[in-house]
Amino acid sequence: MNIAIWGDELAAWVATAELARTGNRVMVQSKEPGASSLKAEPGLMDAIQQGFADGAIIQVDAEDAYAASVHWLAMHPAHQASALELCSRIGRTAQGDIMVINQSNFGIGASDRLQAALPEPDRQAVICLPDTLQQGQALAQFARPTALLLGCEHDGARLALQALLRPFSSNLQQLQWMTRREAEFSKFAISGMLAMRLNYINELANLADRLGVDIEVVRQGMATDPRIGQHYLAPGCGFGGSHFTQYIEGLADVLSQTRHSTLLKTVLEENERQKELPFRKLWQHYQCDLSGKTVTLWGCAFKPGVASIDNAPALAVIRALEAQGVQIQVHDPEALPALKEALPDCASLKMFDHRYQALEDSDALLIMTEWPEYASPDYDQLLSLMRSPVVIDGRNLLEPEYLREKGFVYYGVGR
């Protein structure tokens, strides 16, 4: 099929790469993603280059893209107005049947509005395909989804969509058709549920801190109940990322405007507080005085496997440490360029390519991202490099008893 891609989000470029790989002719308007965090998505740049080399991806002007029969919209949440304009433009230009697949997070009801912008609803259909990609494994998730939620209210488009997605259905266990509005709502509902689970386990972890209980034991106990399961129950210093957060913010707004419900707003607020948890533990350890201290952060990416620091807990902690006059030494295997870009003028911040170098003369190590390489460090080297052997493990990555035995002062989240 002839497919025009609109938007510069992760979903746009993953769709470009994967649709090109499966025989489609994909039209884009720029050579590569704008955001550096997208460029760092594993495998993505190679796949795009391959697509261009094969001629499956071509760069065109917007004018040429309007005439495509399939339009894939994965645009920034703030660009709803231009999406509406785009749809009416496509609708006026198109010859024959067209299909607009909306993956953008414009809120609940947005796909219906896009449909309303198309002048010939019999031949011009909007389909809502919620974006479920996670940074770090997006290509694989697109290629082999286990479940798909499809908001489609047009029988003809349904067939065309099935044909388009057929190459990606090898692993598919569930495919559910619903209305566009239901599909959007489902996506919001899933994100909100996950955020609440994370928030809940963090609340329990903070309580466990006070009660002298190990939250890891409790968590395993909880997971034995099949109604609960084990996913999204790892306590830590808060979630970040832009995609997940945007959905939760969107749902929180809808809930507070239409229902005066503060449930998800509280989840977001508590998550912001949780991001500063490692700072608070450090603050209390040093009796409310951090001036002149040197502190090491291992990890600034919002999760392992990504180069992005969007809404990362490390940012909140760096700001708090900077305000207290702390020298900050950061290591991250991927996200240092993004950090440098976000905080170009932070004089008290030093970045290190080697994780042990970042520990020299340090008064504390804060583990902010659970990169695998942090999980089993050379403890003797840590002890000899650091000025004070204080470890604050924001991701419960290490074994508390062992560290204490080695002579560290260890603080986890709820243990």
Binding site: L282, Q284, C288
Partner: protein, 543 residues
């Protein structure tokens, strides 16, 4: 002309014009143009005062005969105009433009002022960035200003008035004001506060104010109980002191780096421009605070340099002198037609009555004329349902200040804008009815109980809109008015000896409260009450 002669001439004029009624004056062509005056965004309308151009001329001569020009020079140059305490009163130096030097005894005090403001700015920024941390590491989101008198009324009035000028970053911070000695405000407030996120500002010029220190001690104990943390650590993370006596504050236990300074040449009731205005700066940001100072500074310049016949503080002061000393009006109502200025009456009560509520002149002689009237007030539309009955039909002549903003709710809903129009209509209606009485409407009632005599004089202060700059100018206008009156009355407006004796007596009485009575220790009434206090408390403690 000497003062006595000018004074007698005004008495003669008052006698000659005794029968003049405002309804006649308000019919005169050009009345409004002649008796209303503008500076920047403030219009001072004196056309409903019992003034004629003859009276105004004579009042201006009276001011000249009292050497007002020399006094103004002395005030602004830092001469010891507070002669009973041998010091200048330099609140005007607090709002001097940052780049100009202000020399006092060979020292540039403006550089001190600016560095105190910079120190304040550092704290304000920390709070706005949510980087002032409490004992647990949580950011502070609640400020409690503990102070009384000048350390309470000014900041509270301005914070309330300028709430809508909060920058977004300031919205996360709640501010409370605590003053009452008995702890009742504080104890009910503390129940709602989170000790991990609360910062107390202890404001006291002398840092010996009993009311304030008692409240501060209660706050400190509350934090200790909630945190189980060492006291010095709590004081460092949860207390800021604002004082002219840093040694005393340090002795009390405050951390040196948490002290903001001002100086003994700032009177308490003139101190909101100094670091005492910390809570204002937190509320409206440093930019807003500097706009407040700038508005006041522009009024200072106007007062200092404008011809008296166009000079708002001079004209307002002389008009009230006419009312008090020649029209025998000894009550003054402050009536803001604006809920944002709810605390302005209480603020002006202190400013005026603590400054000019005196009856001994600068030479130590009893004054031979009346001085500051009794001042009170309330939000105008609310007072219409309370004490306006007395204004319209009581036996007491009262002069009124109506204060109102011409425009408000620019971008808000139509219903709010119509509420503002309703308020303006009420303000103008009341001023008109007070002046004209029955003649305000065509038909008058035959009923004697529905008769309005009118002829109650009023001033109307019309602000283009309420903003940090116009509020700064308005407060400075009142400050300078009070000063001009003090010059005419030849009293020192900057001391307050009248509040000392009561404090002393309380200290003497304190050990006797709740003790077995020793008749003859005090006067009969006090002895009697001490005995009653003992009896009631005994009964309560014995089951």
């Amino acid at each position: 002309m000497d003062k006595q002669k000018a004074w007698r001439r005004l008495e003669d004029t008052a006698q000659k014009d005794a029968n003049l009624h405002l309804k006649g004056l308000l019919m005169q062509p050009g009345r409004f143009e002649q008796f209303s005056f503008r500076h920047d965004e403030i219009l001072l309308d004196l056309s409903r005062q019992r003034l004629t151009s003859e009276v105004l001329d004579q009042l201006l001569s009276l001011a000249g005969s009292c050497h007002l020009d020399r006094w103004i020079d002395d005030l602004f140059s830092g001469a010891p105009v507070n002669q009973t305490e041998r010091r200048p009163a330099l609140h005007t130096a607090l709002r001097y433009p940052p780049q100009h030097a202000f020399n006092l005894d060979g020292r540039d005090i403006n550089s001190d002022v600016q560095s105190a403001l910079s120190a304040m700015e550092v704290l304000v920024n920390q709070l706005h960035k949510q980087q002032w941390r409490g004992f647990s590491g949580e950011p502070i989101d609640t400020l409690v200003n503990i102070g009384v008198g000048g350390s309470d009324l000014g900041p509270m009035m301005v914070c309330h008035a300028l709430e809508e000028f909060q920058p977004p970053r300031a919205r996360a911070i709640q501010t409370h004001f605590i003053s009452s000695m008995d702890g009742s405000q504080l104890s009910s407030l503390l129940q709602h506060l989170d000790p991990e996120r609360t910062l107390f500002i202890v404001s006291s010029k002398s840092f010996t104010t009993a009311d304030t220190l008692a409240n501060a001690a209660t706050a400190r104990d509350w934090l200790k109980q909630a945190s189980h943390m060492p006291e010095d650590l709590l004081l460092k993370r949860h207390f800021v002191g604002i004082t002219a006596c840093p040694d005393k504050a340090f002795e009390w236990g405050l951390a040196k780096e948490n002290l903001l300074h001002f100086w003994d040449w700032v009177g308490g009731r003139y101190s909101l421009w100094s670091t005492i205005g910390f809570s204002i700066a937190v509320r409206i940001g440093m930019k807003g605070f500097r706009a407040l100072l700038d508005g006041a500074w522009r009024m200072d310049e106007h007062f200092r340099h404008a011809d008296w016949s166009q000079n708002l503080p001079v004209l307002l002061a002389l008009t009230e002198i006419w009312n008090i000393n020649f029209q025998h009006i000894h009550a003054h109502a402050i009536l803001p037609y604006d809920g944002r200025l709810a605390h302005l009456p209480a603020y002006l009560e202190q400013l005026e009555m603590e400054s000019n509520g005196k009856s001994v002149d600068r030479c130590g002689q009893p004054v031979s004329h009346r001085t500051c009237p009794v001042l009170w007030g309330e939000i105008g539309p609310n007072a219409q349902h309370a004490f306006y009955q007395l204004l319209h039909q009581g036996s007491e002549p009262v002069m009124c200040d109506f204060i109102v903003a011409a425009s408000r709710y620019g971008k808000s809903s139509e219903s709010l804008q119509s509420q503002h129009r309703l308020t303006l209509a009420n303000c103008l209606a009341q001023a008109r009815v007070l002046a004209l009485g029955d003649d305000a409407i065509d038909q008058s009632s035959a009923s004697p109980w529905q008769h309005y005599a009118g002829n109650q004089p009023s001033t109307l202060l019309l602000l283009d809109q309420l903003s940090p700059a116009t509020l700064g100018a308005l407060i400075a206008l009142y400050e300078h008015k009070v000063f001009v009156q003090s010059v005419i009355w030849d009293i020192n407006p900057f001391d307050q000896w009248g509040v000392e004796l009561g404090k002393q007596m309380a200290n003497t009485l304190l050990p006797h409260i709740g003790q077995a009575p020793s008749p003859g220790a005090f006067d009969k009434a006090t002895d009697g009450l001490l005995a009653e206090l003992y009896r009631v408390n005994q009964e309560e403690t014995t089951p």
